[in-house]
Structure formats: structure tokens, C-alpha cells
Amino acid sequence: MAEPAKPADTNRPALALHVPEPKYRPGDRADFSHLDIGQPGDQPRPDEGVHPSQISGLAYGLIRVLGDDNQVHGPWNPRLSPDTLRAMLGHMAMVRAFDERMFRGQRQGKTSFYMKCTGEEATSIAPAMALASDDMVFPSYRQQGILIARGYPLLDMINQIYSNRADKLKGRQLPIMYSSRAHSFFSISGNLATQCPQAVGWAMASAAKGDSRIAACWVGEGSTAEGDFHSACTFAAVYNAPVILNVVNNQWAISSFSGFAGGERTTFAARGLGHGIAALRVDGNDALACYAAAEWAANRARGNHGPTLIEYFTYRAEGHSTSDDPSGYRSAQEREEWPLGDPVTRLKKHLIAIGEWDEERHAAMDLECAELVKATTKEAEKNGILGHGLHHPFHTMFEDVYEELPWHLEEQAEQAIRERITKFGTERPFG
């Protein structure tokens, strides 16, 4: 007879379940003094070919360039020309103006949904500028800054948001789920983190073909909990894929704070270390630090040194979307207390401090952005707004499900068109 199994000890202590809780709820005084944000310039900048194990500190520290003195500090200063800095500031101002207008448009009933990226502009615009224009990006839903930086027409963005006649996606996608192959901008899904292994696959294909283009994806810290993110890390590491995995840690996934994605235990950048992926943690409200980190990762990928995971430490200054009211779950003070400030203000103050910008020009730029967005909005409205008419011929609903329409979709298309005639008669062409 075998020895009996170890008997159960009746004096064992009761176990306790830990359910994370954010520090501040509505009505609380927010205080972020517990956050260790280091000092600008205090992180080393290793060679791009470094082995990930030698730079593990960068996954826990915070790469910062712009100081409270509005000057640049340390080895991560990307040494951008004043023209580039002004272009960066211009893109950020444009995104902010665009977000304001589209948010109001949704409130006015012109579309169903919108998502602002207020406070996070630097995390998409700076990396987009650090990449080449033909590097492939796989965005999440809050990277409108990439399209602005890549010169995608505002009119096309608004047409998509309105799902109107001129919407290049034929009214099929939720507002802001853009796609533009011409801008190397992948179709936005809405299912979270699915773009991560896709970006890795694209990068693997580029490498397998001996191409020189690299890929980058963006994912929120909350979505790093998805299996897709971890599959992406595994594949990126296994195949040394030329890819940049950008994690935008804006602290909140709708109402769930970063603790529900594991943020209480370690940093999101540290997710890379277990995979053997180079990992950087960056002040996401410091456009220069964001640019420098993305440039480092792009050089690393292009030099066949493999993937990089970048955590952009930032703060979602507004609600998750137009369908969200953050006053129901977090302290309203958090935004103003955020210790890393506002990315637009910080870049503006830096440009002023180095004598390359002034308040008058800034005010004029803001006005110009607002007016351009307003005029483009009016132009887009000529193509219709959501809910005011069915803008697209009904047959388009059945197109692109497959390359060619199989018989069952032909039959269903005929039915849809019959239903339209029953409702509207044959007089109206469509809409």
C-alpha cells in the first residue's frame, strides 16, 4: 500500500480574495504624490541593439525629457528642429480642436458615438512622427492623432464619423473606426487587442520578405489583459519581429482602473521583460520623450534587433467615449492633479522657452484649427449626417462580405431592396 496522501489540516487560515480598488472615487481629494515619476533626464539611453535583460530598469523607471523648467534634459532628448516641434504642436492642437467639435457634433445628434483622446495626444502623434510614413500602424480606437500626423483628410474622417454618403467605409463601421491603406493605417476593429498579433504578423511578413518597413500597434493598458496581447508578445519575441507594441496606460478602462489589468503589481512595460522583449516606460504627456522612445524602438526594429514594448504613462482626461460619464466612478480632481501635466501645454511652453513660439501665435493656431474643423464639418454635412436618411444604396450592405456575392446574399439583397420600395416607394432613389 502506498502512503496515504497528506491529511487536510483543520487549522488552516481562511483565504482572502483581493479585489482591486482605485485610490480615489467621486468626491475624494486626488493625490498622486505616491507615484514615483523620477526626474527628467535621469534614465540612460542604451544602444538600440542592447539585450533586453540589460535594460530592465527602463521598464520600471520613467523616460522623461521635458522638465518643469520647460527645457529638455538628458540622453533621450530627440534633438528635433523647431520646425518639427511646431509641426508636432500643430498636430496636437488640431486633434484637440477636432475632438472638441466631434464631441459636440455627437451631442447635437449628428452621429451616434465619438471618442476623444484629450491628454493622450502625444502618445499617437509623436510615435507617428518618429515612424516612416509607410511603416504600418495597427491602432486601437484612440489614435486619431496618427491620421492627423499622416495627413489623412479631415473631411474623410468626418464623413466616416457621420456614416454619410461620402463615408469611404460605406456607413458600415462605428464612428472613428477608420481605415486607410493609403496611409498604412489598418482598419480599426473595436474588439480589443486583436490588432496586436496582427501587427506582429504584418511585421513577420515584412521580415520574411526582406522588406524594410516595420509595424506598430497601440493597445490600452486595460486590454493588455486580453490573450491576444500575450500571443502578440510571444510571437514578437519568438520571431524577433520588427514591431513596436505600444501600450497606452491612461489609468482607466471605462470605469476600471489599471489595477484590474494588473497595474497594482508591476508596470505594463514589465510585461515585455518576461517575454525577452525590450521594454521602455515613458512619460506619455511628454511629446519629446514619446518621440524619442518610438524612434529608439523603430531603429531597433529596423536594425533587426527585434520588438520593443513601450508603455506610455498618461491620463485619460475625459470620459471613455460619448457614452461614458466618468463622474460616476472617479474623482473629478484627478485630471488637474495628474503630476505629468498636459502634453499640449508642456510642448507649447517648451517652444516658447526656447524662443521659437509665443502665446499670440499659439492663440492664432488654435483659432485656425477650430475654424478649419468647423468649415470641414459644414462641408461634410452636405453629404448627410447619421440617422437623417439611409445614405447608402441597400445593395452595398451585401457587398464586401465576400469578394463576390454568393446566391444567398443576392437573394437577401433583393429582399432588402424590395423592403425599401415597400417603405419608400420607387420615387426616392435611396436615402
Partner: protein, 351 residues
């Protein structure tokens, strides 16, 4: 490979006979050769050549950039394949068993199947996901499932299931060249020989079956076209994969003059062939190995009833697996074999 020369008049024609694995391997080899954008990836498919040997020799011949092993992550395999498709490649990922495809479902359903639509043609996902499916090999519940109905339910996916070596090669080439994502389920019970369902009888090898004659080189069997296995007047049989052979054997054993259609492609479905057959016979038996409730047989039954109702002389009969997991020791009790099929035929023909 077997070479069985047959004499036709004076000429000697090399009648090459392959089993289904060899036919699939040949289709992959040809497509790797013809199209530099075709790549093959999956668990154990590289150096080793796959657990069923479907990719044997392909890495050695075409190199590691074209044929390679992957991590054990179906989500990652399909997700990476979607990205490769966006780049311009034509990936042919293998999922080692259909039972393991579920971690990749979101990437298939929400991504691959929707990409052309949601981007209005900006991006496509021209993947062909190969996966052995079905039971009858004592694979237990995790190596025996037939999940085809999960995929036929998804707008944007095509689902293809061959039943012979000849079709496996031609359909796989069509699937790879297709610009839409295709789920290509390979009935593993008939990889090495057509199975009649009489599990207590000796196994027949493919070389005795006429459809193991596989032409050399490139050819296509079009998607969306059924194969008329046998012309008959008494009743229509709709089947695919392994069950084509089982249904045919039972009809032969019972001396039933059946009109048997091998559907080959479930989506898009060859509805014209189905309608023509049922209008001729007035009776319809649908056979699949998958579980019954919401199985593809339900769709077929509905289509036949909706479209051929006034030609029907008896209610449509479905013969399927039971609504249980695939039981290891009782797999022949689960399997829709000769007894179950025979009862359905008797019911259909009793009036």
C-alpha cells in the same frame, strides 16, 4: 506515392493514386511553388512536417521563411495570419485539430471574416485555415469534434470539406487562391482510406477507390459546386466529408437507388444541385457527424423545406451525431453509422 499504370487501348496512362494526406501535401507544395506569397505555419508543421504529415518535406524544399512552426497559440496563429494577409501574403495556417481552433475564434469571426467588409475592401484576409476534424479515430472529446456549423454561421467565412484525395487537392488549391478566408476541414478518419462506417470490417486503402486518382500538377475544384456521387431516383442524400462514404455504403448495402450529393463546400452552398436532386426524388436525408442541434443539417433541412416543399413526399430526415461530447470508448455509439442511417432510409421510403 503509388503508381498504378492502367492500360487504355494502346496508351499507358500513369494513374497516380494518392491518399488524402499526399494529395493535400501536393496541393500545398504546388501553391508554395506557384505563388511566392503563400506561407504555411502552425504547430509542428515545419521541420517535422505536421502530426498527420500533411506538410512533410515542405520546409526542406521551400525554406523556413515559407513553412515554419508556431507557438502553441491559436489566437496568435490566426491573428498573425490576418496581419500577414494585410501585408499581402496568402497564409495557410494549420490548426492541429479542429477541437483546438476555439482560442482563435475571435480572430476568425471578428477579424478575418469582417476585414473586407469593415474596411470596404481596403484590406482582405485571404487565409486558408486547414484543420483536421471529425472522429472515428478514438480521439476522445478533444480530437474528434466537427465544429463546421460554428463557421457556416459566420458571414464572411467560407467552409470547405473534401471527401476524396482528388477533391482535397483541387479544393485546397481553390481555397488558397480564394481572396476570402476559408475554413478547410479535413476529415481525418479518411486521411488514409475511405471509411464506410462498418467499423468492424477491415479498412480499405484509398488506392482501391476511383477518386484516389489524382492528376499531377495544378488543377482546381471550384468552391460552391457539389459533386454528384451517384445518380438515383429513390431519395436524395446530402452529406460531406467522411459521411459521404458512410451514406453511400449504407445505400449500397440496402440496395437503395439514392441520389447522393457530396456538398464539398458548405458556404457558399450549391443550392441548385440540392434543389434539382430533391425535386427529382421527393425525399431527402441529410447526414453529418456533428452534433444535431443547430448543426449544419438544420440549415440544409430548412433550405430544402423552404425551397422544395411541394416536391417532398416525406419529411426531411437528419442523421447526425448525438448532442453529447464525443465519447472516447463509446465513439461508435455516437457515430451516425449504418444502423442510424438505415433507420432513416427506411422511414423516408416507407410510404
Amino acid at each position: 506515392m503509388n503508381e498504378n499504370p492502367a492500360t487504355v487501348g494502346e496508351a499507358v496512362i500513369a494513374e497516380r493514386r494518392l491518399n488524402m494526406i499526399e494529395a493535400i501535401n501536393e496541393a500545398l507544395d504546388i501553391m508554395l511553388e506557384r505563388d511566392p506569397d503563400v506561407i504555411i505555419m502552425g504547430e509542428d508543421v515545419g521541420y517535422f512536417g505536421g502530426v498527420f504529415r500533411a506538410t512533410a518535406g515542405l520546409q526542406a524544399k521551400h525554406g523556413k521563411n515559407r513553412v515554419f512552426d508556431t507557438p502553441i497559440s491559436e489566437c496568435g496563429i490566426i491573428g498573425a495570419a490576418v496581419g500577414m494577409g494585410a501585408y499581402g501574403l496568402r497564409p495557410v495556417p494549420e490548426i492541429q485539430f479542429a477541437d483546438y481552433i476555439y482560442p482563435g475564434l475571435d480572430q476568425l469571426i471578428s477579424e478575418a471574416a469582417r476585414l473586407r467588409y469593415r474596411s470596404a475592401g481596403d484590406y482582405i484576409a485571404p487565409l486558408t485555415v486547414r484543420s483536421p476534424f471529425g472522429g472515428g479515430i478514438f480521439g476522445g472529446q478533444t480530437h474528434s469534434q466537427s465544429p463546421e456549423a460554428l463557421f457556416t454561421h459566420v458571414a464572411g467565412l467560407k467552409t470547405v470539406i473534401p471527401s476524396t484525395p482528388h477533391d482535397a487537392k483541387g479544393l485546397l488549391i481553390s481555397a488558397i487562391e480564394d481572396n476570402d478566408p476559408v475554413i478547410f476541414f479535413e476529415p481525418k478518419r479518411i486521411y488514409n482510406g475511405p471509411f464506410t462506417g462498418f467499423y468492424d470490417k477491415p479498412v480499405e486503402p484509398w488506392k482501391k477507390h476511383p477518386d484516389s486518382v489524382v492528376p499531377e500538377g495544378y488543377y482546381k475544384v471550384p468552391l460552391g459546386k457539389a459533386r454528384h456521387v451517384r445518380e438515383g431516383e429513390a431519395l436524395t442524400v446530402l452529406a460531406y466529408g467522411t459521411m459521404v462514404h458512410v451514406a453511400q455504403a449504407v445505400c449500397e448495402a440496402k440496395g437503395v437507388d439514392a441520389d447522393i450529393l457530396d456538398l464539398r463546400t458548405l458556404v457558399p452552398l450549391d443550392i441548385k444541385a440540392i434543389e434539382a436532386s430533391v425535386e427529382k426524388t421527393g425525399r431527402c436525408m441529410i447526414v453529418h457527424e456533428a452534433t444535431r442541434t443547430s448543426g449544419f443539417g438544420a440549415e440544409l433541412s430548412a433550405l430544402v423545406t423552404e425551397r422544395c416543399f411541394y416536391h417532398l413526399e416525406a419529411p426531411v430526415e437528419r442523421v447526425t451525431g448525438f448532442d453529447t461530447p464525443y465519447p472516447h470508448s463509446l465513439e461508435w455509439a455516437y457515430f451516425p453509422g449504418p444502423v442510424r442511417i438505415g433507420e432513416a432510409i427506411d422511414k423516408l421510403l416507407k410510404d
